[in-house]
Amino acid sequence: MEASAATSAEAVPRARARTARKPKRDRTPWYMWIAVVAIVLFCLFPFYWLINMSLKAGSDLNGSSVVPHHPTLTNYSAIFKNPDFIASLRNSAIVALITTALALIVGSFCAYALARLKLRGKAIILGLVLSITTFPQIAIAAPLFKLWSDIGIFDTYIGLIIPYLTFALPLAIFILVSFFREIPKDLEEAALVDGATRFQAFRKVVVPLAAPGLATAGILTFIAAWNEFLLAVTLTATTAARTVPAEISFFTGATEHQVPYGSIAAASVVISVPLILLVLLFQKRIVAGLTAGAVKG
C-alpha cells in the first residue's frame, strides 16, 4: 500500500489526505471527553465502592465515606479463615472446570459437523441449540429439585454439572460453529488428500487451528458456569456442593442488622478479581465471542 502510493504520483495527494486526517482525530471534541469520563465512572464506581467497603472495619464501616479512613485487610484475612467460603471456592472451581471441559469436548464435535460435514437438518439443529439458550432455568430447576432428591444426587457436583450443560453446551456449540467456519477448507482437504480420515483431519488440523475459538468458548462457558445462581441455590444445601454465588447470597441472607458487610464485600472482591483479570487478558477474544453471529450476515 505504502510502496504503491509512493511510486504513483497520482496517489500522493490521497496518501497525504489520509495522513492529514490524523490530527483531526486528535481533536476529539470536549463533550466526547465528558462522555468517556461518564462511561468510565458508570462502569467502575460501583466496583470501586465494593473495594472501599472491603477495606473498612469497625467504626469506619458505618461511616458511609467513599474513602476508607483506616484501610485494613482484616476482612480479607477473615474471609480466608472461613472454611465455608474456602469450600465454596473449591466447589465453584471444580463444577465450572468440569462443565467447561465437557461442553468443549462434546460441543466441538457437534460444531464441526454443523460447520463442515454433510448433514440433513443442520438449520433445525442449530435453531434447536439456539432455542435452548432461551429456556428459563426455572423450568429445569423445579423438576430437578425433586428428581435429584429422589435419586440421591441432590447437593452433589454431578447434580450441578448436568443441568449446567443446558446452557454451557449451546454456548460452546454456537461460538465454535462460527470459528470453525472461518478456518480455510484447503488445509483439511490437503490432509484428506494425504490419506487422513475426516476425523483425523478434524483432530489434527482443525482443532489446533481453532485453538483461539476453543479458548473463547472455554472462557465464556467458564464465566457462565461460575456466575450461575438459580440452579446453584436450588440444587445445593450444604458446603458439599454449594458454589460461591450461593454462598455469598447466604452471607447476605440474614437481612437483620449486623450483617458482616465488610466480609461480604471482601469475598465479593476476591471472587470477582480473577474473573476481571481473565476478561482483561482475553478481552479481544471475549468480545469476538460475544458478538459472533450478531454482526455477521
Binding site: 462502569c43 429456556f135 454482526v295
Partner: protein
C-alpha cells in the same frame, strides 16, 4: 499439489463415494452426543415438570400424590401473588430493557467516536459484565443500606430503600442496567464498526446534519444488531432471579415469575404448584421468543442461520 492430485486421480471416484457416505455417518456420530445430552438435560426435565405440574404432592407424606389435572395452573393464574409476580416481571423487563438499549446505544456511539479513549473504554466496559450478578446485588445493597451506604448521606434522607414498594424494584432495575448496558454497548459497537465510513462522508457532502445521519443511516443499518440485543435481553430479563432473590428475597414488590416458582417448590415444597409456575414461566418466555421471531424474523434470519 498438482502431482498429488494426479496420483490420486485414478481411484478418486470410489474413494470419494465411500468418503461421502462415511462423512454422513461421521456427522451423525459427531452431532448425536450433544443432541442426546441436550435432550437428556433440557427436554426431559421439562417433560417431567409438566408431569409434576399435573399432580398434587402431599407436603406431609413423602411420595404421596394425586392427579389434579390443570388445577395447579388455574390456581396459579388466579392467585394474586402469581399475578403480581407476572406484573413485576413485565415492569422490570420493559423498563430495564428499554433503559439498557438506550444507554448501551449511547455508550456504543461514544465509544465509536472516541478515538483516543476507545481502548480504555473497551476494557472498562467489560468490568460490569465480568462481575458476578450476586456480587452486583451486594454492591448495590451496600450503596443503599444505611449506615454503610452513601446514598442516604448524600441525599440527607433516612429511607429504607430496599424495604419499600417502588424503590426496591427500582434498585433492582438500576443494578441490572449497570450490569448489562455495557454488554449491549459492545454488541452495538461491533454493529457500528461494520458500517462503512463512505456512507457518512457522502451524506455529509449532501449536507445531511448529524441528527439526519444518525436517524437515516446509523439506526437503519444498526437495526439488526439492536434487534438481536433486544431479543436476548428481553428473554433474559423475563427469567430474572438472582437480583430480586439476593436483594429482597422477592418481597416488597419484587417477586418475579422465577422467584415465586422457586420459592413455591424449594421453600414451601409444593412440587405440583411450583412446577406449574415454572412451566408457566417457560410458556411465557417461549411465546415472547416466538413472537419476536415472527415479528422480526426476516431481520435476524441472516444472523442465526447464516
Amino acid at each position: 499439489m498438482a502431482t498429488v492430485a494426479n496420483q490420486a486421480g485414478a481411484p478418486a471416484p470410489t474413494r470419494r463415494r465411500s468418503r461421502s457416505l462415511s462423512e454422513k455417518r461421521l456427522a451423525v456420530l459427531m452431532v448425536s452426543p450433544s443432541m442426546i445430552l441436550i435432550a437428556l438435560v433440557a427436554a426431559w426435565p421439562i417433560i417431567y415438570a409438566i408431569w409434576l405440574s399435573l399432580h398434587q404432592y402431599s407436603v406431609r407424606v413423602a411420595g404421596l400424590s394425586r392427579w389434579v389435572g390443570a388445577d395447579n395452573y388455574t390456581s396459579a393464574v388466579s392467585s394474586p401473588d402469581w399475578r403480581s409476580a407476572l406484573y413485576h416481571t413485565i415492569i422490570f423487563t420493559v423498563i430495564s430493557v428499554t433503559l439498557e438499549t438506550m444507554i448501551g446505544l449511547g455508550m456504543a456511539l461514544a465509544m465509536h467516536r472516541a478515538f483516543r479513549g476507545q481502548g480504555l473504554l473497551r476494557t472498562v466496559v467489560l468490568v460490569p459484565w465480568a462481575v458476578l450478578t450476586v456480587v452486583t446485588a451486594v454492591m448495590w445493597r451496600t450503596m443503599f443500606v444505611s449506615p454503610y451506604g452513601f446514598i442516604n448521606t448524600i441525599l440527607g434522607t433516612h429511607t429504607v430503600w430496599l424495604g419499600q414498594e417502588p424503590y426496591a424494584l427500582i434498585i433492582i432495575i438500576l443494578a441490572d442496567v449497570w450490569k448489562t448496558s455495557p454488554f449491549i454497548a459492545l454488541l452495538l459497537l461491533a454493529g457500528l464498526q461494520v458500517i462503512p465510513d463512505d456512507i457518512y462522508e457522502a451524506a455529509k457532502v449532501d449536507g445531511a446534519t448529524a441528527w439526519q445521519r444518525f436517524v437515516r443511516i446509523t439506526l437503519p443499518l444498526l437495526k439488526p444488531a439492536i434487534l438481536v440485543a433486544l431479543i436476548f435481553r428481553t428473554l433474559d430479563a423475563l427469567r430474572i432471579f438472582d437480583l430480586p432473590y439476593v436483594l429482597t428475597q422477592g418481597t416488597v414488590g419484587t417477586s418475579t415469575l422465577s422467584t415465586i416458582a422457586q420459592q413455591t417448590f424449594a421453600t414451601n415444597r409444593l412440587y405440583g404448584q411450583g412446577a406449574a409456575m415454572a412451566i408457566l414461566a417457560f410458556i411465557i418466555v417461549m411465546l415472547v421468543s416466538f413472537g419476536y421471531i415472527r415479528f422480526v424474523g426476516g431481520n435476524i434470519r441472516g444472523m442465526t442461520a447464516e
